[in-house]
């Protein structure tokens, strides 16, 4: 069987699987109750089931209805995808340990590298600028409590 629309095929599959997982999770872990006394599993089970049915419907359409160009998913931008997500996750991991002053430039340097117009000099300048700017706005201006310095320094 040929896939007529790649995009709908994958989105249908996604909805089907996610819906089924939610419904299955609701049924096995939480009490379903009855219509007169709905339990915590009642609503998510219904929703999951409905989503799975819609997913199956989208999947079916993707396999049967002709489209002009097969609606391809297209090229996946691996480099920006991975670099951006990893640098944000790293920010989350490092901030409580190293503090804002060190973590922020790391985020800026790493994330800038995702662009195909990367230049080291400009990035360093903007990292320093953002460091000072964020300190002024968020710490001084809004009075947020964000760790600023690495824990081993701040302890003293």
């Amino acid at each position: 069987m040929k896939i007529k629309s790649q995009r709908d095929f994958w989105s249908g599959l996604m909805f089907l699987v996610v819906g089924a997982l939610f419904a299955w999770g609701a049924l096995t872990n939480y009490s379903f109750g009855s219509s007169a006394r709905p339990g915590p599993g009642y609503f998510p089970f219904g929703l999951g089931l409905l989503l799975a049915v819609l997913g199956a419907f989208i999947l079916f359409e993707a396999l049967t209805i002709e489209t002009e160009d097969g609606e391809p998913v297209g090229q996946i931008a691996w480099k920006p995808l991975i670099v951006i997500l990893v640098s944000v996750a790293l920010f989350g991991a490092l901030l409580p340990r190293l503090g804002l002053f060190i973590t922020l430039p790391i985020l800026v340097l790493m994330a800038s590298w995702a662009s195909d117009e990367f230049s080291l000099k400009g990035t360093i300048v903007s990292a320093i600028f953002l460091d000072v700017f964020s300190w002024a706005i968020f710490i001084k201006g809004l009075g947020l409590t964000i760790p600023l310095l690495p824990t081993f320094l701040a302890a003293n």
Binding site: R7, D8, W10, S11, M14, F15, V18, G19, F22, G25, N29, Y30, S31, S35, A36, P38, P40, F43, P44, L47, G48, L50, L51, L54, G55, I58, E61, V73, A77, K79, P80, L81, I84, L85, S87, V88, A89, F91, G92, A93, L95, P96, L107, V108, A111, S112, S115, D116, E117, F118, S119, S126, A127, L130, S134, I137, F138, L144, T145, I146
Partner: protein, 503 residues
């Protein structure tokens, strides 16, 4: 004249020196924070909730309302300037607003958004003052079954008016509803889908979803395109203020947007977001004049209409909150939280028990809107300067502000990780052309819908027919059904496809 005396009481409250100060402070703070992409009003209000303990109820709510409008307007500013909607309701503004900015017309776009919003805000204020009391009467007739049906109508309305495949949009709503199920069950206290992670028992953060799906997803897909297709704003900026022709084009759109927004804002969950989508769809359906730029390429009507609708909707969405006591969106939910902190039970009785607060808040909405215009028109010049910053410097800055905003939500890095996950999901949605806005809407309404559904079933002893035997509920469901049928009719389906495809 009841209306006049009520408004007079309101203005008496709002125009005291102290309350004006709080309104101004809120509007300034809101704008600043709305302009920082990622740091939305939800984060701000959440941050400020502790300081509200020290204020009286009226100034506290006036300030919160100021933040709300400010952030709404600030969110549109970033949507126009850098294509990152700061608020889910400015998603539509980004479509044509960003294109206008790219072709050097950021000034008129910002002015149209500001002035349109102000006009809509004025109308919205009058509408609240006039219609809140009768709607309160209606509110007493609302049981859980009616609330549930009303939310179904709101969700269906959002889907019908959104672009793209109808089935996919409904599936996205369901996905949003399911993500909203990750929490602690309100009725039985059982944590659901939390995998023993303590942070998840409080539910997934709205900000984490919004930033992940809209903010990060957008940056990744922008970077995925070759540099020459991306950004590049023309260096030749054509004027800061709209021309006479611009105003003539935008005015009818503002009027239509205001009407639509005032109407849809009353629906819980829909509110501003729904209104903006609907207004954009409506503007696209209107005949296009020969001298106009096509939609999606920078048509001023595509900014003015949704922006007015958005603001009118933001205004009238206070009606369900103040009268029915149900928050139509996350910001309002926080305001309800603030009210309860101050010992005020939101709901139909507020108008009788705290008339000063009720009418004062309504009057200060108008004051807040006025302040926004005064504040923002001179700032347009400065915003435009921002556009000269190349994207390769801009997006790391956006990431920085998002990350700091996420971290400060709970002073915890958990929300940062959540946003990473949703960023990935956002890119998947982008690739599969699944529109993320309905997901957000479903997510916000999910817990409320469930509670009302279960309560309605408890009351009817498990009889599902309660939703169709109660006349109000039946009417609401019928309206929802009609909407689906109407868009599914072949002739309209074709037209709908055309409306969204013509570039």
């Amino acid at each position: 004249m009841d209306l006049l005396s009520n408004l007079a009481l309101g203005f008496q409250t709002a125009l005291t020196f102290q309350n004006l100060g709080y309104a101004l402070f809120g509007a300034v703070l809101g704008t600043l924070i709305g302009v920082l992409p990622g740091l939305g009003p939800v984060a701000t209000i959440a941050m400020l909730l502790p300081s509200i303990y020290t204020l009286d109820a009226t100034p506290a709510l006036i300030m919160l309302a100021g933040i709300y409008y400010g952030a709404q307007y600030g969110g549109s500013t970033t949507a126009i300037l850098i294509n990152v909607p700061g608020e889910s309701s400015s998603v539509v503004t980004a479509l044509d607003g960003y294109q206008m900015a790219r072709s050097g017309r950021a000034g008129p776009a910002l002015a149209a958004a500001g002035l349109g919003s102000f006009f809509a805000g004025c109308v919205g204020t009058v509408i609240i003052a006039a219609f809140a009391p009768p709607l309160t009467e209606l509110a007493f007739k609302f049981g859980p079954a009616e609330y549930f049906s009303l939310m179904v109508l709101g969700l269906i309305g959002a889907v019908v008016l959104a672009s793209g495949s109808l089935v996919k949009a409904i599936a996205m709503i369901l996905l949003g509803l399911l993500i909203g199920q990750i929490n602690t069950d309100v009725i039985s206290g059982v944590p659901r889908y939390s995998f023993d992670i303590p942070e998840l028992t409080d539910g997934v953060g709205f900000v984490a979803i919004a930033m992940g799906v809209f903010g990060f997803g957008e940056i990744i897909s922008n970077l995925g395109q070759p540099a020459e297709n991306r950004q590049v704003f023309t260096k030749d900026v054509k004027g800061l203020l709209p021309s006479g022709q611009d105003i003539r084009d935008a005015l009818p759109a503002v009027l239509r947007g205001t009407a639509l927004g005032s109407l849809l804002g009353v629906l819980p969950g829909g509110g501003a977001l729904l209104a903006a989508f609907a207004a954009y769809t409506l503007e696209k359906k209107m005949p296009i004049k020969p001298h106009e730029t096509p939609f999606g390429k920078g048509n001023i009507r595509g900014v003015a209409g949704p922006e007015s609708a958005n603001n009118a909707g933001a205004q009238t969405s206070f009606i369900p909150m103040l009268t029915l006591g149900i928050p139509p969106n996350a910001v309002m939910a926080l305001m309800v939280g603030a009210m309860t902190i101050k010992g005020i039970q939101p709901g139909p009785q507020v108008m009788q028990s705290n008339p000063e607060l009720f009418w004062g808040l309504i009057a200060s909405m108008w004051v807040g809107n006025l302040m926004l215009v005064i504040l923002n028109l001179p700032l347009i010049g400065i915003w435009i300067k921002l556009l000269t910053v190349p994207y390769r410097f801009l997006y790391p800055a956006i990431l920085v502000f998002c990350c700091i905003g996420l971290y400060t939500l709970n002073n915890n890095n958990f929300d940062v990780y959540m946003a990473v996950g949703f960023g990935l999901l956002g890119y998947v949605f982008y690739k599969l052309q699944c529109e993320p806005a309905p997901l957000l809407l479903g997510f916000i309404l999910g817990p409320m819908m469930e509670e009302n559904l279960r309560r309605a079933l408890l009351l009817s002893r498990g009889d599902w027919s309660t939703f169709i035997t109660r006349p109000l509920s039946a009417g609401l469901l019928l309206a929802a059904l009609l909407m689906v049928v109407v868009v599914s009719l072949p002739s309209i389906k074709r037209k709908r496809a055309e409306a969204f495809q013509e570039e």
